[in-house]
Subunit: 453 residues, 2 copies
Amino acid sequence: MTERDEYERVFESVRAWVEPDADEQARLTEAAAALLERTGEAIADLGVEADTILVGSTARGTWISGDRDIDVFVRFPESLAREELERFGLQIGATVLPDGQKEYAEHPYTKGDYDGFSVDLVPCYAVPTAADIKSAVDRTPFHTEYLDDHLTDDLAGEVRLAKQFLKGIGSYGSDLRTEGFSGYLTELLILEYGSLLAFLEAAADWKPPVKFDPENHGQRSFTDPLVVIDPTDPRRNVAAAVSPANVARLQHHARAFLVAPSETMFIPATPDPLNTDQVRMAIDRRGTIPIAVRFETPDIVEDQLYPQLRKSIEGMASELDRRGFDVLRTATFAAETAVLFAELEVASRPAIERHEGPPVHVREHATGFYEKYADDPDAFGPFIDGDRYVVERDREFTTARAFLESEALFDVALGATIQRQVEKEYEVLAGSDVADLAGEFGAQLAHYFSPKP
Amino acid sequence: MTERDEYERVFESVRAWVEPDADEQARLTEAAAALLERTGEAIADLGVEADTILVGSTARGTWISGDRDIDVFVRFPESLAREELERFGLQIGATVLPDGQKEYAEHPYTKGDYDGFSVDLVPCYAVPTAADIKSAVDRTPFHTEYLDDHLTDDLAGEVRLAKQFLKGIGSYGSDLRTEGFSGYLTELLILEYGSLLAFLEAAADWKPPVKFDPENHGQRSFTDPLVVIDPTDPRRNVAAAVSPANVARLQHHARAFLVAPSETMFIPATPDPLNTDQVRMAIDRRGTIPIAVRFETPDIVEDQLYPQLRKSIEGMASELDRRGFDVLRTATFAAETAVLFAELEVASRPAIERHEGPPVHVREHATGFYEKYADDPDAFGPFIDGDRYVVERDREFTTARAFLESEALFDVALGATIQRQVEKEYEVLAGSDVADLAGEFGAQLAHYFSPKP
């Protein structure tokens, strides 16, 4: 048994770097207050009806020292037309953050810097309850209000520890690349369990599906491995974005921490990037046939890019499997270029492939099949196996490279934007040539070739 | 439409060589009569109670010109002990066929030459009906009696044509190598249809399972593709030995004959044997990886050898598949040596293989799995895929040759006698080395590399 004070010693040490000090808190409070004031003035100048609210972790006092994000929401009346809301929102944004940029989520908002902080200024509707929202952002103020009512300072400290733990294991963030735990989800889980230690002790024993319903809404059922019904909106699972792998990852690291608590677990691992020689050695050692399709990364946001990369590699892998090249593992990488990477078990297939015809007793089909191949000089057979005709005919592609370099690649179910990009230009790397990827993706390859939970 | 007289022209031409002429008939009749007389005398000399009966195709007038087989059965009373029956049977055999040899089926009988004919002298029990038999041979006299009552001379002629057709397509013989149509089954099918042409017209349209019950016994149901209830024994499917492939083969050739009747279809195809260069060229063209396990043919009868070879190659192929070498097609050959032959699609697999662990949430198993591999320097992982641990660990055999040359071959479900033989000594041929088999199995390899229905 690990003693409680061993855990406490680790937590104490992590608190030292995740808790903002008085100075940092004061600077944030000041900047937030100034932003709210400037926003109020901009609203008044514009002569529109609206109020302002500070949301997110800085509003809730659960931000981690060093985070520089301030989220200001501007709430307009429900009666306002959507186009008006977007126009007013951007006008206020331009006034408050003169150097800001227009960004797009469900509707446009403004992103800019203020006094060293990164500020999002987001227009939304003032709806009576979270169940009445017109767009996803309308829900956010309710989350802040709910947590304002429930989160004590002690719990806020535990939230910080929990967020840092999830960051350390790579499971923090509900973006579609990470598919992990959002800040709000982490806050609700700490509300549920009371402390990070209690959360980890419970998670170590979870038997998914795991369900929480803090406000006992109990209206809908969900099929996700982790279900936390939003206390402000019964129809929503706050954990819907969490992948099964991230639930498993949390369970793994929770157990590891309980056995041997260490503050290093709160720090994301960054393996040394591999160089080309090291990639070649890894391939040699494994005896696999790696293959990569590489193209210029399309200019879309990460929340679009990563799901499309995943869809594309799944489509490509399933077609490589179907064609007999037996995919061992896949990955996708993206920076300047993007890569669909697959490690194959089979280097090549024979010149011929088995092609089963109909049972001989299905006379019309069977005769059609027999006549199609009987005089084909490139086919072996037809012959009879069991009750069927079988022929051995030429295979379309004997290597994965030949397939990927052909137009047949475009018949694979790739993500739509990826498809357009690949149709413009792409290159195929095969075998030890994939080592060239180390220049741009050495860190990702290090992760790939030394996989960890 | 093919005219009836085109078929008749072909049948007429085949009749010319399958119908024994008057001279051949006379010689057979004479030899059979003499044998029955000698057998009667031997019975009398021995002072036992028994009678004799001529059975088989020579008795029924359905033999094909050139066949030299005469089957004489000696029927003893049911009260006689089995050992006595066997002893008396062999004593009579020794008297009638002084140069004969003892052979074994369900019980011993005598095989010998008489006046240029090959004679089987078989003891059996005189049971009241075929349903009362004590061993399979007791049934045979009933078949002869049934056909004596039903088979006209015209039908006997059609039986000869049908047998020769089945010989031509390689489907004649109920031995366990051929798994085809026995003489008795052919006779019953001709009784059913009235002529070879009607039989072929019907077979071309068969939708297996096809069932006949000439005497409307209707007692039992069978799962074979072709079911012909023995008119003399309701419990028996005369076509039980016919494989699905031979049913399909008959259907294929029946259709081919109806479209383009030709007497060449009545002659078994004998492709020219391949030499080693030709085998090498075939392998090159196909791009496959052939592999063979070769050993001295065990000294057992064909009806034991071929089923055991089939069981062995099935066991070997299923293990090759399981280990990722993807079997395209298999064959077995037997002469002085016997060969388990498999043509593979995959030359080698990587040094590592994927090994899935339990779902992470199954805490005890999952932790056991993780700890087993976490410190294994040869393993990649464990990592998390979906909700499971996965590890990439060293693969036992990266080539089929390495597997077949190892003791692991003996864990395959081989036939018992084959297993003992292989454990004594065997060699593995792989890739172009299998061309060495052409010396002993050139004809079989010709058939293998030019497969026909």
